[in-house]
């Protein structure tokens, strides 16, 4: 045992020695950053276990690197990573349970700083101008302590916080406005609040379907997809798609799904078509037409559709293991016919797919 350890120590010493030599004798030429081009998968890990991680995958080279944040920076990402906001050369990783935002260079994953104060149960980040906006649930059971925190993009310092309705989740920026979808924390909400970034206050609350979970902007329209209340709510409600006119900030039209058991998610715009998921199936919606009733196809390989993205005519689905322990998978499908193009192992409980 000791002998083995000794050998290991020698081996390590030798390796580090030779590395030093290498760098001294022949400096590495300037090369493309390690994560210049590829797929970033955020793995939230297990609640309370601080095993969140980031995987980097390049499907052309069949490259799959796990735990890149930890490897590059030498410390753990934290507990329950919720989302990443990419902006210019920055990646802002919102780590929910750790109450922090780790900010890295998106191409090298080298840390540029962290925001660790004035956050409480943070969910998503969005950039407008030179400010970072972060939604926070506060105490999930308390409907009155939810807020959007505002930080300075230049030095990550805290500016102010804006009190908002319960359960602020995803945000989308448009000109100087920020639209915040309120899913409702531990309970249910049905609002989009509109924050004017010039005065940093809520100027309007717009009622949409129950549990708005995804938004996309098309021209002068904000499309909001709401899941509807789940079966265990007091009253189950059907999903609803709403179009908000960005000029008037009023709901111009809304479409409710025909059955209260239909709970859509993941609204994505590709060209002029909208895609959404219901369960593990993909549905296509052409604006102006009725809501889709038949699926395009189903993602059979997926245990649980947890992270979803459409990018360059491919569908990316991040799926945890069925019991939410152990490593998950990233499945890549052809958007047109749903055929499985590729699949990769990820870290624990992947919940988001992003692209460099």
């Amino acid at each position: 045992m000791n002998y083995k350890n000794l050998l290991l120590v020698f081996a390590l010493a030798f390796l580090s020695q030779s590395c030093d030599d290498d760098s001294e004798c022949c400096p590495a030429p300037e090369q493309e950053a390690q994560f210049e081009s590829g797929i970033i998968v955020l793995n939230e890990g297990n609640f309370g276990s601080a095993n969140a991680s980031v995987s980097f995958i390049n499907s052309e080279d069949q490259l799959n690197l796990s735990g890149i944040f930890n490897d590059v920076n030498g410390y753990s990402l934290g507990d329950t990573a919720q989302s990443i906001e990419l902006h210019e050369n920055l990646a802002m990783i919102v780590v929910n349970v750790s109450n922090k935002i780790e900010i890295v260079n998106r191409y090298t994953f080298e840390s540029l700083g962290a925001i660790t104060t004035n956050l409480s149960n943070p969910r998503f980040a969005e950039i407008i101008g030179n400010k970072i906006y972060v939604t926070n649930w506060g105490d999930g059971t308390n409907p009155d302590d939810d807020f959007v925190a505002v930080f300075n993009l230049a030095d990550f310092s805290f500016d102010e916080s804006i009190n908002v309705a319960e359960g602020p989740e995803k945000m989308i920026a448009h000109n100087t406005s920020i639209y915040v979808a309120h899913k409702g924390g531990f309970s249910f909400n049905n609002l989009i609040s509109l924050i004017d970034s010039q005065v940093n206050s809520v100027v309007k609350e717009i009622e949409v379907g129950d549990l708005p979970n995804s938004m996309t902007i098309n021209g002068n329209d904000l499309w909001v997809l709401a899941a509807g209340k789940p079966s265990y709510a007091d009253v189950e409600t059907a999903g609803e798609l709403s179009r908000i006119d960005l000029g008037t900030n009023e709901v111009a039209e809304s479409f409710q799904f025909p059955d209260k058991t239909i709970h859509p998610a993941n609204l994505n715009l590709v060209g002029n078509s909208a895609y959404m998921t219901i369960g593990k199936s993909l549905y296509k919606y052409e604006p102006g037409n009725a809501l889709p009733v038949t699926e395009e196809y189903s993602f059979e390989e997926v245990a649980f559709l947890y992270g979803f993205a459409i990018h360059e005519n491919k569908v990316y689905v991040a799926s945890p293991r069925a019991d939410f322990t152990g490593n998950g998978n990233l499945y890549i499908y052809d958007l047109n016919d749903g055929s499985l193009l590729d699949q990769f192992n990820t870290g624990i409980n992947p919940n988001g797919v992003y692209f460099n």
């Binding site: 609640f47 309370g48 601080a50 349970v97 059971t141 789940p230 649980f304 069925a322 152990g326």
Partner: protein, 609 residues
Amino acid sequence: MKKLLNLLFTISICCCTSASAQIDSINWLDEVVLSDAKLINNSKAQLVRKLEDSVIQQSEPLLTSLLKFNSPFFFRENGYGMVASASVRGTGAAQTAVVWNGININSQFTGQTDFNTINTRVYDNVSVKPGGGSVVYGSGAIGGTIHLNDDFQFNGSVNNRISTGVGSFETIQANYKGDFSSEKTSLSIGISGISSVNDYKYTGTELINENGDFYNASVNASIAHWLDSRHLLKFYSNYYQGERGFSGTINLNSNSKYVDENSRNLLEWKYFSGNLNSNLKFAWIKEKFEYYENRESSEFNFGEAETAIIKYDLGYRITDNTKLNVIADYTDVNGEGTGIFHAKRKIGGISFLWDHNIEKFNYQLSFRQEITDSYKSPLLFSAGLSFQLSENYLLRFNSSRNFRMPTINDLFWQNGGNPDLDPETSLQAEIGSGIVFENFKIDLSAYVIDIENLIRWTPDATGLWRPVNTKEVYNYGIEAFAEWKTSFYGNDLNLTGTYAFTRSIDKETDNQLIYVPGNKATISAGYSIKRFSLNLQSLYNGSIYTSSDNEYQLDGYTLANLGVSYTLNTKPEINLSATIDNAFNKKYESLPSRIMPGRSYRTTLTLKF
């Protein structure tokens, strides 16, 4: 003359009846003395290991610590004094039944018993029985059963024991146990309490265990009284009350609080007549909890369940070597709580237990069928054979079908409860042998268990976590219990050890189930030198997987507790002891990010009179 004859006749009748009454109860002595005679009489082909009183006294008072160091069973703990569950023979937390005086006391909500809510000092004895036992002990008796029993004596004895102790992290405990008996009446009372600030340091970090404070108090009383020579009444009562901060993990602070209260009452009326033994039982069990997400707030979630059981057991000794028991019972459960409205469950059951000795050979057959509206109930059975091949060697076989019913949460919880669940069922077989060489005893078992319809909470397509009958699993393994009483330099040395090799395999993936160590071993030693005694308790837990793909694991660990005690006075007996727990300050966790205490100290003063 006629008067004299009459008198003689009367006397002879009296003698006869009193003689036969004596025989009646002698015939059924176990039924008189024990609270759960079936543990001995109907498990002849399985191992029942009673833990020595001295072992219980030198262990920490809560059941988790006692069994962790003195059985091959594995325990998952959220922290010292926090929620703890067992894995016996590689099974899950709800697949071990805790049985109080013959009555299954696993929670109706979770299907498990929190082993840190049981204070061992209030019971007369604690026994462990690895292997299935659903025919007699009902739901959850798949991996094994753990028995908390009260015994009765009718010999005029009076025994009192008072013990108090203090330890690290401001832990204070005290208990009293008193046994009193006359020829007709036997009374036993146990009272205990423990409290701790429990702010231990997470070994290897700068953090401390915050919000882990707890206290609990237990009272256990049992009384038996002969109404006449054939009628014996027994009454048992147990009450527990506890309050705990639920500590967070190393990454996650917690500010929650859990308050729970359990009461259990059991009335038994036994009647003995010749070869007949009739036993009527009424049990009434109540469990209640309140969970405060924020302990400063008055908002809480709660659950409350009441269980009433009526059971009639008729035993008949057909010959000296053959015995039949027929048992009919009815159980009524009513529960409610946050997200659970009027959960009701009614279960009727009938059982037959057959026991036959043929010289050195014994076989037992038993069957049980339950009828309930809540789930489909399988026919349960147990078949056992044992051969006493020689004084030194016992060989046994047992096969049984056991089950675990869906809990109230599984069936009735509004946020996902599934009323269509089937019970988990298991078919198992074991072979065991007990070997005795003078002062050395060893018992070895090998087993296989096939479990179907495992209930697992998994998210459905809409993201709602629901329980479904999903996995199929097979377990196999080896268990050993050894004991050696010897002397060393003229003083008594007692050594005991246990070992378990466990495989618990998901049939779909061939992976080991999470939180099941492949190896566990314990070694205890006690050495007495005059008024001093030294003792060691140690364990090894092998590594456990924390993910079903077996990609992540927690390291194994070895722990040792060292203790010394000194008898200051023998009549009354006064004893002072000091123990170093986790003497080598090993950093260990049985659940991820939940670090257990490092080195700590406790002292105990015990008075017996």
